[in-house]
C-alpha cells in the first residue's frame, strides 16, 4: 500500500509525516495522535466538513496517527494529507504512487495557501515523490527545478484525479528571470550624498557592514534602501536559499531575484531577530539572509539583542537550540545600522542646535560603542542638506543604480576569482592569517599608513578592517596593487575619522 504523507517543518527543512487512518465501529469520534499542535488537532473539524462537501460522510471511531510519533507536528498544512488518508479508507480513493499532500482545507473543500511549500517540494524532489499542493503555492514551487508537482484547487478535483476521472494541472518549472529588478529608490533619485553613495558602493562590492550616522531627515533610510538596488541579483543557489526561508514563514515573493531587505524596529526581541520561539521560526536576520538587514535607531536596540547578533554576523548562520533539538538557519546578511548623532539628532548640524546635555550625550555615545561596532567596517556620516544646498543640486542626479551595480558586479567577480581557492566569497570575510599573507603594501603606502595610525590610534582589529576595505576599494578600481589613495579612502571610513566631529 502506498502511504499518504504530509510534512511538518523543522527549521527550513520539511520532515515527512506519514498519515495513517483506522476507522472502526462505535460512536462518532475523531482522534489525532502523534504530537499534534493545536492547529493540527483542529484539523478534525476542517477535514470532516471538507469531506462532507465532496460527499464523504464520516461515521464511527476515526483514529489518525501521524508518524514518526516523536516529532512534534505543527500547522494546518497536514489537513489535506489527513483528508486523503481518510478518503483512501472510506471514499474509494487510491494513491498510486507515494506522494506528499500539503494544504489547508476550507470547510467547503477548497484549498488554502500554506507556508512550507518550497521545503516540501525539496523533500519530494529528493525522495522522487509526487507532491500535491494548493494552487496559490504553485508560483513559488514553479521556481524549483525537477519537481513533479500538481496544483490542486479543491478536494473534489483532487479525488477525481486520484480516481482517474480527470487530470489535474501540473506545476511547470519556470526559470527565474535574470533581468535585474528595478532599483527603488534608484541612486539617481537621491540628491547629493555622493560620499554616502560611494560608501554604499564599497559596502556592496566587498560585503562590508555599514553604519550611517546623520541628523533626522538626512536620508539614512533612503540610502539604506538604495543599497539593495546595487547588489548583484541573486544567483541560483542563493535564490533557492531565499525561497526556502520565505516559504517557511509564508512570505510572498515579489521580484524574484531581488535581494531581501528587512528593516527591523528597535523594539524587536532577540528571538524576533535571531529566530526561535516555541515553534521555531527563522528570525529577521535569516529572512534578510543574502540581502540587507537594516537596523534603524541602532543605539535604541537593547544590549542583549545586539549581543545576540554578534555570532550570526561572524558565522553567516545561526543555530537555534531548543529542548526539542536544534536547527540551523542561514544568516548571511549585509548589516546596515543607522543612528542619529545624539538624542536630539542635531549635533554637528550647521544650522540647528543640539539641545542635549553633555551627560545625555555621553550616555548615548557609550551605547554606540561596544563589540557589535567591531563588526562594522564602514562608518559614514551623512550631512543634512540645507534648502539652498538642495536647490543648488537640482538637476544634477548623478549615476543610476544600474551603472553602480555594474561596477559592484565587476569587483565581486574579481574577489570570487581571487578567493575561490580559500572558501570565501568577499573581501570582508578574509581571515586574519590570509590577510597578512595576501595583502601586501608597497613601502610608500606602508609608511603612509603607519603615520596615519599614530594619528588615529587604530587597534589591531581596526587595522585589518582598513586593509580589507582598501582591498575592496582597489578591486572597485580594478587595480591589483593597493595604492595610497585606496588606503587613504579606507581610513576615512574609520570610526575615529568619519565620526571625529562627534567626540565630546
Amino acid at each position: 500500500m502506498n502511504s499518504v504523507s504530509g510534512i511538518t517543518l523543522r527549521g527550513v527543512k520539511a520532515v515527512p509525516v506519514e498519515v495513517e487512518v483506522e476507522i472502526t465501529g462505535g460512536l462518532f469520534n475523531i482522534s489525532v495522535v502523534g504530537l499534534p499542535d493545536a492547529a493540527v488537532r483542529e484539523a478534525r473539524e476542517r477535514v470532516r466538513a471538507a469531506l462532507r462537501s465532496v460527499g464523504i460522510t464520516l461515521r464511527g471511531r476515526v483514529a489518525i496517527n501521524l508518524a514518526p510519533a516523536d516529532v512534534p507536528k505543527e500547522g494546518a498544512l497536514l489537513d489535506l494529507a489527513i483528508a486523503v488518508a481518510i478518503a483512501c479508507v472510506q471514499g474509494g480513493v487510491k494513491v498510486r504512487k507515494t506522494s506528499l499532500f500539503i494544504g489547508e482545507l476550507a470547510l467547503d473543500g477548497r484549498l488554502r495557501k500554506v507556508r512550507g511549500a518550497v521545503p516540501a517540494a525539496f523533500l519530494a524532489r529528493e525522495k522522487g515523490w509526487d507532491i500535491y499542493l494548493p494552487e496559490e503555492n504553485a508560483e513559488e514551487v514553479s521556481l524549483v527545478e525537477g519537481v513533479s508537482a500538481w496544483r490542486v484547487k479543491s478536494l473534489g478535483d483532487l479525488f477525481a484525479h486520484l480516481r482517474g476521472e480527470t487530470e489535474l494541472a501540473r506545476v511547470g518549472y519556470c526559470e527565474a528571470d535574470f533581468t535585474p529588478p528595478q532599483a527603488d529608490p534608484d541612486f539617481s533619485d537621491i540628491k547629493g550624498q555622493s560620499a554616502a553613495k560611494r560608501a554604499l558602493e564599497i559596502a556592496a562590492a566587498g560585503h562590508h557592514n555599514l553604519l550611517l550616522v546623520g541628523s533626522p531627515g538626512s536620508g539614512k533610510t533612503l540610502l539604506a534602501r538604495a543599497l539593495k538596488g546595487i547588489l548583484p541579483p541573486l544567483s541560483d543557489p542563493e535564490l533557492m536559499e531565499v525561497l526556502l526561508l520565505r516559504s517557511t514563514v509564508g512570505n510572498s515573493i515579489s521580484s524574484v531575484r531581488e535581494r531581501p531587505f528587512r528593516s527591523v524596529h528597535h523594539t524587536a526581541s532577540a528571538v524576533a531577530l535571531c529566530g526561535g520561539g516555541t515553534t521555531l521560526r527563522p528570525g529577521e536576520i535569516s529572512l534578510a539572509s543574502r540581502g540587507v538587514l537594516f537596523l534603524d535607531e541602532f543605539p535604541e536596540f537593547t544590549r542583549d539583542v545586539l549581543e545576540a547578533l554578534r555570532q550570526p554576523l561572524e558565522d553567516g548562520q545561526i543555530t537555534v537550540s531548543r529542548a526539542s533539538g536544534s536547527v540551523v538557519y542561514p544568516a548571511k546578511v549585509l548589516m546596515v545600522a543607522a543612528c542619529n548623532p545624539c538624542p536630539c539628532g542635531f549635533a554637528g548640524d550647521p544650522v540647528e542646535h543640539c539641545t542635549c546635555s553633555p551627560s545625555a550625550l555621553e550616555r548615548y555615545r557609550r551605547r554606540l560603542s561596544g563589540p557589535i561596532l567591531d563588526r562594522i567596517d564602514l562608518h559614514i556620516s551623512i550631512p543634512r542638506l540645507m534648502p539652498e544646498e538642495l536647490v543648488s543640486l537640482e538637476g544634477k542626479c548623478g549615476e543610476s543604480s544600474a551603472e553602480v551595480a555594474e561596477r559592484v558586479r565587476a569587483a565581486r567577480d574579481i574577489q570570487v576569482k581571487r578567493w575561490s581557492g580559500y572558501g570565501i566569497g568577499s573581501n570582508s570575510e578574509i581571515p586574519e592569517k590570509l590577510l597578512r599573507r595576501k595583502i601586501v603594501l608597497t613601502p610608500e603606502v606602508k609608511s603612509f599608513l603607519l603615520r596615519a595610525l599614530n594619528r588615529v590610534r587604530l587597534s589591531g582589529r581596526g587595522l585589518s578592517r582598513v586593509l580589507k576595505v582598501s582591498r575592496t576599494i582597489a578591486d572597485l578600481a580594478a587595480s591589483e596593487e593597493i595604492k595610497l589613495e585606496h588606503v587613504a579612502e579606507a581610513l576615512s571610513y574609520r570610526e575615529g575619522e568619519a565620526l571625529s566631529w562627534m567626540k565630546i
Partner: protein
C-alpha cells in the same frame, strides 16, 4: 606630623568660617593649641557659629585631619598650604585664597605666566578644535595651560597640550581623586604626567553645584591671560572671565558667529573690551616674546607648508579655506572634478591632517 599643615587642612575643610579662624591664628588672637582644645567660648568670641563649632569638635574627635594626611600619603597627593613656598603666589590676589591646594601630579610648581582656557561643555566642533589647537600652541611655545578639566572646551585644551608634550594643570571642582566627568579619566591620567591635578576640596569630595564657581576663581587667578573659547552668556566660563577681569588678568575671547548661542558670551566679552583672539599664531608669538621663551616650533604652519600638494588638492583646499563645512557635493559644484575624485582627494588631505571633518559629512580646512 606637621602641626601647621594639620591645622590648615582642618580649617580648609570648614570653608568661610575656617578662614576667620585662620586670620585669628595669624593675628595671634588664638594659638594652635587653643584651637585644638576647641573651646566653645573662645570660638564664639571670634564669631564662629554654633554649627561650625559642633563640626570642628566632631572632626577633632574623629581625627579627621590625621586621616586626611594619611589619605594624602596613600594616594600620593600633596597638600600645599597657603604658606608653603610651592603655593602659587598668584592665588594670593584672591580675597579668599584657598588655605590648602591638594596637588596630584608630576609638576611641583605652577609657573608665573600661564594661559587659562575656558569654555562651554556643549562645544561645537569649531570650538573644540580651537581649544585643541590653543593647547598645541601652548605646548610648542612652552607656556603652561590651565583649565577646569570639564568635557568640551576644557578637555580639548588639556588634550592639545598633553599630546604635544606641553605642561597643563587641571583645577577640579571635586576632590583631586574624584574624576569628573568620568569620560575624561584617561585625560586626567595624562595630565598627572605632564602637569598636575589640583583642587581646594578635600579628598573624596563630590562635585557639588557651588564648587564649580569656586573652582573657576582659581582658574582665573592662576592664569595671566584667560582665553574664553566658546561660551553662552550664562555659563561658568563667563563667571571665570568675570573673576579674571576683577583680578586684572588679560581676558581674550575667540569670536564666534552672532547667530550661535554658544558664541554670545565670547562676543559679548569682546564688545565689553576683551581682546579678540583672531590669530593664534600672532597671539602666541607676542606672548612667547614676552615670556622670553621664543621658539620657532609653530606646530601647524610648518606642517602645512612642508607638504607638497597636487594641483587638485590645492584647488579643493582653496574651496574649503574660503568657507568651511562643505559637503562633497558642494565642492563638486565649485571645482571641475567628479565626486569620486573629490572623495579620494578629501581622504588623502584628511589623512595628511590638512582638512578635518567638521560636522556630519562636512569638511573644513585646518588653517
Amino acid at each position: 606630623m606637621d602641626e601647621n599643615l594639620k591645622t590648615l587642612l582642618l580649617l580648609n575643610s570648614l570653608e568661610g568660617q575656617g578662614r576667620k579662624l585662620w586670620f585669628a591664628l595669624k593675628r595671634g588672637l588664638m594659638s594652635q593649641d587653643e584651637f585644638w582644645k576647641c573651646s566653645a567660648k573662645l570660638f564664639t568670641e571670634l564669631g564662629i557659629t554654633e554649627r561650625t563649632i559642633v563640626a570642628i569638635k566632631k572632626k577633632i574627635d574623629m581625627r579627621w585631619a590625621e586621616t586626611e594626611m594619611e589619605k594624602c600619603l596613600k594616594l600620593d597627593i600633596r597638600a600645599v598650604g597657603i604658606e608653603d613656598e610651592d603655593y602659587p603666589a598668584k592665588l594670593k590676589d584672591l580675597k579668599d585664597p584657598p588655605l590648602i591646594l591638594y596637588w596630584q601630579g608630576n609638576k611641583k610648581r605652577i609657573p608665573h605666566k600661564c594661559i587659562g582656557v575656558v569654555g562651554t561643555r556643549r562645544a561645537s566642533t569649531y570650538g573644540r578644535r580651537t581649544a585643541l589647537r590653543i593647547g598645541e600652541y601652548c605646548a610648542s611655545a612652552g607656556i603652561t595651560l590651565i583649565s577646569g578639566g570639564a568635557s568640551g572646551i576644557d578637555g580639548n585644551a588639556h588634550q592639545g597640550a598633553c599630546i604635544s608634550g606641553g605642561k597643563t594643570f587641571a583645577v577640579f571642582g571635586t576632590g583631586v581623586d574624584v574624576y569628573f566627568p568620568q569620560s575624561n579619566a584617561n585625560l586626567f591620567r595624562e595630565i598627572k604626567d605632564c602637569g598636575a591635578l589640583i583642587s581646594e576640596f578635600p579628598i573624596g569630595s563630590q562635585g557639588e553645584q557651588w564648587h564649580f564657581p569656586r573652582r573657576n576663581r582659581i582658574v582665573a587667578a592662576l592664569s595671566s591671560k584667560l582665553i574664553v573659547v566658546e561660551a553662552p552668556l550664562k555659563s561658568g566660563a563667563m563667571i571665570t572671565a568675570g573673576f579674571a577681569a576683577e583680578l586684572g588678568r588679560e581676558v581674550w575671547a575667540v569670536p564666534g558667529r552672532i547667530d550661535e548661542e554658544s558664541a554670545h558670551g565670547g562676543n559679548k566679552l569682546i564688545f565689553d573690551g576683551a581682546y579678540p583672539l583672531i590669530d593664534l599664531k600672532d597671539f602666541f608669538e607676542t606672548n612667547t616674546r614676552e615670556s622670553a621663551v621664543f621658539s620657532n616650533d609653530d606646530p601647524k604652519a610648518d606642517q602645512v607648508s612642508d607638504i607638497d600638494l597636487s594641483h587638485e588638492e590645492e584647488e579643493i583646499l582653496k574651496v574649503l579655506r574660503f568657507g568651511g563645512g562643505q559637503t562633497v557635493d558642494n565642492i563638486a559644484l565649485e571645482v571641475k572634478m567628479s565626486a569620486a575624485d573629490i572623495l579620494k582627494i578629501i581622504a588623502i588631505l584628511s589623512a595628511k591632517g590638512i582638512i578635518y571633518s567638521s560636522g556630519s559629512g562636512r569638511y573644513s580646512a585646518n588653517v
